[in-house]
Symmetry: C2
Subunit: 283 residues, 2 copies
């Protein structure tokens, strides 16, 4: 069988010489926004699929891993997170996970493209169930400008839930942006950002860590996790802080008051283990 | 860009509605053996690629993860492994890893199709560097029959490095086979077998564990790891034994006398962490 016939969505990862395809049953929507081209498909086995500029953003079947790993490790590492900023995150899956933490009093989400959120409300309603939580503020604005304008020490956790470091999100992978994040975080503050594939993008992960360090963060910690619909099926987030990141509120994580499907305290510890080749890369 | 044009090898995973493709530069070899159809490609970014009956077996770029995870967790869990049996494993990558353990005195590998090994010697020579080790015996025979004929308690570790549980390898995922493995293992013996994708094949993993338990093994432990070229990019092995599998010779693993690229003692611990949904599945 080939996938030459209609009914498959394929994302090619040119640099890696790989491609990943999902069997679709129909295209539900497409539009060109001021920022990007968004497509929504119904797939046969992976639920709804959102594609931006030809790159898979999320599927209904496996987004729980990504969203839980962007939210919970950072929130269970900070001693008492109350104020959280999400940059990007327009599908609202990360927001939903953050709001599961009862101690969080305010979450500002700054997504540049309102259409991402409106389409998520329509096609991924399960991710948007917390959008009307009184602690949530949905802003549609430029995240780089937002952080630059923030008050010093305003946030406990900043989560950068962005697209790849090409195009509109490029500035989110740069030292000036990390400096602004550093200033906007309190003493115990933690920055966490999606950081591409450990197999395919080692130089991106390494460059990001170097830029975070130059921006003032003394500690950085990669978190690895599977993500079927992203290139190589293996993805990462990187946490940065001025406090040791190897320790977290393990009892709170073990006794968390909300359900998860991927994250638990054992997975949190496990995600911090670096494969031998990454130890060399990140030396 | 589409992958309709020539020069891509695509494996479709029908049940999951997914497909994975690698950009190839040329086909190096193809043949029909008495057992299966073997193809070898040169890829642009993943080194050599071996495909059997249309399914990707291994690529030069990422096979180190699979081979290290099949060999080292089991060997560092057994207190003193001396006699090892590998069922399948014709590409010899697992064999190479096993022979890195200095205490191992004898490794018998039983691969049904000699052509897999001969082609590995030609196209994956780096995996076959230990084939002439005086401790290694390469047999080309039926693994199910081999284990049935083994002496009681003959082996310390049995590694089942097979294709998927359809076709020739089906019998390797069954209770009668596990009974024979159980009998062929010593008191501290450990069986480890590749066990498909945690995301896509939960029922296979669960059925395998049930069959292992019915065959006499009291303990089972899933090990998760990334594997880019296999469906979902996330794979597993399952260990079975009559001893607790959560503990291993951590000091020996930390001070191992050979180089690895994925495995280390932190990765060993990490691989045993079960995602929340797998805890439910494997209850």
């Amino acid at each position: 069988m080939t996938i030459d016939d209609k009914g498959w969505f394929t994302e090619v990862c040119e640099d890696a010489g790989t491609a990943f395809s999902l069997k679709t049953s129909r295209k539900l929507h497409q539009e060109q926004t001021p920022y990007q081209r968004i497509e929504i498909f119904e797939t046969e086995q992976f639920g709804s699929l959102m594609v931006i500029d030809g790159f898979i953003m999320l599927s209904g079947r496996d987004n729980f891993i990504y969203h839980e790993m962007l939210a919970h490790p950072a929130l269970f590492t900070h001693p008492d997170p109350k104020n959280v900023l999400i940059i990007g995150g327009g599908d609202c899956g990360t927001l939903r996970e953050v709001l599961n933490h009862e101690g969080v009093g305010r979450v500002q989400q700054v997504e540049i493209d309102e259409r991402v959120t409106r389409l998520a409300e329509q096609y991924f309603p399960e991710l948007c169930v917390a959008n009307n939580d009184s602690r949530a503020e949905l802003h549609f604005d430029d995240g780089i400008r937002w952080v630059k304008a923030a008050s010093a020490g305003q946030y406990d956790v900043i989560i950068v839930d962005s697209t790849d470091p090409i195009g509109p999100a490029e500035g989110l992978f740069s030292e000036p942006f990390y400096r602004d994040c550093y200033a906007a975080l309190g003493d115990d503050g933690i920055l966490v950002q999606q950081s591409e594939s450990p197999l395919l993008h080692q130089s991106i992960i390494n460059d990001m860590r170097s830029a975070m360090r130059r921006a003032g963060f003394e500690q950085a910690q990669m978190l690895g996790f599977p993500q079927c619909v992203y290139p190589s099926g293996w993805w990462s987030a990187t946490m940065a802080a001025n406090r040791p990141l190897g320790h977290f509120r393990e009892d709170d994580a073990s006794n968390k008051t909300f359900a998860t499907r991927y994250y638990n305290s054992a997975i949190h510890r496990a995600a911090m283990a670096l494969p031998e080749f990454m130890r060399q890369v990140l030396k």
